[in-house]
Amino acid sequence: MRAPNQSRAHLWFIAPALVLMFLVLILPILIAGYMSLTNFSLGNDGADFVGLKNYTDIFTKSTYEKMFGATLRYVGVTVPVSVALGLGAALLVNSVTRFSNVYRTIYFLPVMAALIAMAIVWEFALHPQIGIVNTTLERGCGTWLEVWGWLARGCADGFPLWLGDRDYAIWTLCFIGIWQGFGFNMVLYLAGLTGIPRDLYHAAEMDGTKSGWEKFRLVTWPMLGPTTVFVVTISFIRSFQVFDTVEALTRGGPSKSTYVMMYAIFEKAVKQNLMGIGAAITIVFLAFVMVLTLIQRWLVERRVHYV
């Protein structure tokens, strides 16, 4: 039925976007794939083909073990917490009718504030001696709050150095990531909530569902399935790609405890000019993300759509 000139026009329409994306985004992946098999470095003519050496390094050396550990910790904490908080905040904002726009805006502010600017604020707040976090904790010393064992230990032996503390740095980064990102998830969930037909709740009430929890479990949560899949995927990708805070606050340290993959690629390829190994980490990274995307697609196609 379509006019022939139009179907050709449609090709011309989509072509610029596709070609541009191919040139600047896909081509470099191919280049990276090739470079990952060499020991290429910039300014060094002629690279040697080293086969899979870069990859075996990644999966055997302890530095990269730390890299995977830091990445998994970050992703493993940031994703579930920011998704849960996003859902909680959305339910909360949804239940409050007055000023809900104000909450929305406030919760969304960190998403809009450049992470690199906010990183400085956190660095300040978490400064071991003069930061507001530790000075506030110190105020609890000598009071009844010391029944909390962790606080009492901190009063006696000094509070954590947070970003400079091997045991705390990665969790501190997780916290900042959650603070920055959960508002985004909340907004997505709010949209999901408005999409649930009111009748379903009435129907559930007629069937004898009374408590709020039951309504959530039987109606809200299943109906939010597609939203959840989307939110989880986005959160995964965002937390896998964490870079700004690491670069600004810890640079992978202390003792590689925050050496996440994006930072590792940056350090190897850009700072140390070891392009081969940097490219290999890039490819491994992409493989991870690809698997996640495939899982997401599979979930979407299988069973999360009820309407």
């Binding site: 449609h10 989509i14 610029p16 992946i29 502010l109 809009m112 690199i116 604020v121 949209a191 993959m261």
Partner: protein, 276 residues
């Protein structure tokens, strides 16, 4: 009876919502307050909340050290330029995917989105070398192009979801009345899609404004936007917190103000595409 319970419930929820809001907002608020303190008061223990000697000195010093306006202008040009360019390229693509869908449309869309998962560092060097060759390093033009490409998948995707909401019958009617393809897009489609395009614009301006990786790696002095401005203040002067806060506030204020006033539109844009 039930009403009493819900009223109390509501009060608790409201209190909770405010408390969380305060917690979320506090770091930003604290930055803004600190920027008006003297260095001594900024690190005072106990912290001073409101009753300090408000001063604009930090802003003056920051302005003296680095020309804020230049960075601001660069940020505005780069954010608006990359968004505008992106829209121009994305509208036709989104149009054709929404109204002339083929078997591959879904695949193409997925593929476009999957490029967003690329670690930017992975493509930094090829682009860096290309930029040197083409003389685009430290130029606004270069950043406009790169940020446009980075955000293009999102723009196409958002526009696609908006366009899909437009009933095809309207376009058919226009065609019956003899509208050409060009007229169809300019007179029918664009006006109907204005809200969608506006949200897309907003979100992309924010994304481009906050983008730090590319802006830091591809600029030096001439084309550096506010992200570079803030980065130049970070590590070496670790302890000048009032000045750092002033610099931070100056860097995020424009986008927060924009976001605050366009929040509704922005959130609509974000969610509309995402959840449908």
């Amino acid at each position: 009876m039930a009403r009493a319970v819900t009223t109390r419930r509501k009060a608790i929820n409201t209190a909770l919502a405010w408390a969380i809001g305060l917690l979320i907002f506090f770091p930003i608020l604290w930055t803004i307050l600190t920027s008006f303190k003297t260095e001594g008061q900024a690190i005072a223990d106990p912290p001073i909340f409101l009753f300090f000697d408000w001063t604009l000195e930090n802003y003056a010093i920051v302005q003296e050290r680095s020309d804020y306006m230049r960075y601001l202008v660069n940020s505005i040009i780069i954010a608006l330029g990359s968004t505008a360019l992106g829209i121009v390229i994305a509208v036709p693509a989104a149009w054709s995917m929404a109204f002339v869908p083929s078997k591959r449309t879904k695949d193409i869309l997925m593929w476009m989105l999957s490029t967003k998962m690329l670690p930017a560092v992975g493509v930094l060097y090829p682009i860096y070398l290309l930029f040197i060759k083409m003389g685009l390093l430290d130029s606004r033009m270069g950043l406009v192009v790169v940020l446009m490409l980075i955000n293009l998948p999102i723009i196409v995707w958002m526009l696609y979801t908006y366009f899909k909401e437009i009933p095809g019958e309207i376009l058919e009617a226009a065609r019956m009345d003899g509208a050409t393809l060009k007229e169809e897009i300019i007179y029918i489609l664009t006006p109907m899609a204005v809200p969608g395009i506006a949200s897309t614009l907003l979100l992309n301006v924010i994304l481009a404004w906050n983008e730090a990786f590319w802006t830091l790696n591809l600029t030096a002095a001439k084309a550096a936007p506010l992200t570079a401005f803030i980065a130049s203040y970070s590590s070496p002067e670790g302890l000048f917190y009032a000045k750092l806060s002033a610099a931070s506030t100056m860097a995020i204020a424009p986008i927060l103000i924009l976001g605050w006033f366009s929040q509704k539109q922005l959130v609509r844009g974000l969610t509309f595409g995402a959840v449908k």
